[in-house]
Symmetry: D2
Subunit: 160 residues, 4 copies
Amino acid sequence: MKIKIYTTGGTIDKIYFDQKSEFQVGEPQIVELLREANITFDYELESLMRKDSLDMDDADRALIAERIRQDPDSRILLTHGTDTMVETARALLGIEGKTIVLVGSMQPARLRYSDAVFNIGYAIATVQMMPPGIYVAMNGQVFDPLHARKNVAAHRFEAV
Amino acid sequence: MKIKIYTTGGTIDKIYFDQKSEFQVGEPQIVELLREANITFDYELESLMRKDSLDMDDADRALIAERIRQDPDSRILLTHGTDTMVETARALLGIEGKTIVLVGSMQPARLRYSDAVFNIGYAIATVQMMPPGIYVAMNGQVFDPLHARKNVAAHRFEAV
Amino acid sequence: MKIKIYTTGGTIDKIYFDQKSEFQVGEPQIVELLREANITFDYELESLMRKDSLDMDDADRALIAERIRQDPDSRILLTHGTDTMVETARALLGIEGKTIVLVGSMQPARLRYSDAVFNIGYAIATVQMMPPGIYVAMNGQVFDPLHARKNVAAHRFEAV
Amino acid sequence: MKIKIYTTGGTIDKIYFDQKSEFQVGEPQIVELLREANITFDYELESLMRKDSLDMDDADRALIAERIRQDPDSRILLTHGTDTMVETARALLGIEGKTIVLVGSMQPARLRYSDAVFNIGYAIATVQMMPPGIYVAMNGQVFDPLHARKNVAAHRFEAV
């Protein structure tokens, strides 16, 4: 069962640029994470954009939806910043016949301590096992985009 | 949905003892991994033994089966060494009405590069989402214990 | 031989704040680094400020110089951002009778890959072994502040 | 100032072999550590053997001494297991005109938490700055081989 992975940026892909003394969205980190995890399933990766999710607009979401809609694959993983992950998930709600899972992390994958690797492992299983639908996979739980939000103060997603 | 986690040792829990200049099975590492992953689901952990899975015998497997059988919880995660993981999974095949997932890692969780964190994330989703049954979750795939083996030379599990 | 460590912030102490989606200077990381390194020498630590070194001004440098001048200890380690490390080192050139070493890192100590730990190890030896004077210790070399600069494009310090 | 690095094995180079479920001495780790530290000094590396230092004998020590004696370089770093590091250092005591520093680690460099990187940074500065002689650099201190021992129970070196 092949998984199609789209990356859009977000904290999970942030790396530190010494030259500007700041963190910015870099190359997709998920390729290196999957290699280290020694995975054997089939996947294909495509980078759609490299944005902090606070900088995404309706045009970005329309692009993401269009690309997923036209994708012949039915198992879709989307790495995404956490701040507007729920908003993007809702923008995908019209897409039928596909299992679409959005995942990201609160801490960059490049940190020694990060939720990134666990979240990717969790999301890979989710996209393989769940029936068609749109899901947010964070904090070891699966959320319905219509009943989820990021609790910024508590650094976690919760059902609402 | 509560998850009951049993630990038995294996490579995932190996730490380096300078005093004996060797790696040995230490404290269960999964607690620290779950804390770093910032998970919000409910779980309970119990350490059944601390063994390299090559040192497990029929009595160990009978104990594991008995403890799981009598456990009131229906979602069971078992961390286990990889060398005899399939054998232990088969010893649990008679247990009904529970989703039981066995997971481990090829490299200790304490290493900078390890499959441990990904595997735990993957296995947590598996135990939450799969119907009752006994499963081996390794390399980003779910295996039926009756049709799985560890390919030692290739450092991965495969279907047979 | 006791070492007095002053921290001022800089990249070495940067951590990622999910709430603001950005890296900021956090708690001094050197305490944890020294603990992990299992060091046995005597030291005392004081945090003077938590600044990106680009935000330091003459008043900050006057404060640092004054505190070091009045310190009864003669072996002083100063952790500092790299962008103006040479400038601060020059501001200390009048202080006599002390071995003062400035050190920092190009990548935050919290990253999986960072020059921070090596640099701290190198700087500790430098402050123990060098005669009185002001030194910049970066990239496995000791520089005279009057003949050093950060080559921003090349991510390293060099003699000039 | 060029540094000649000889590696002999020891805990610092131990990696985990899944196939045998044990840690063994692998490739010298110091190359990767120096690359991550972004060092700019000149060095040359040669692997003399890959042994746990408990397995070293007089012939090994004679070989090490002979190679260092004939080396035209005068700044020598020797990575070595900790258990017999002092013994090997004493076997080098007759060599004059060179600064020879022995270093290792209590935990493998491949672990997420290890004293290896700090120790290497410290030892590099030591070999650059100390006058000719034989030194053991561990725990952020420099020891005279004639007055040093490893305190196995306390996981550290100490003066005697």
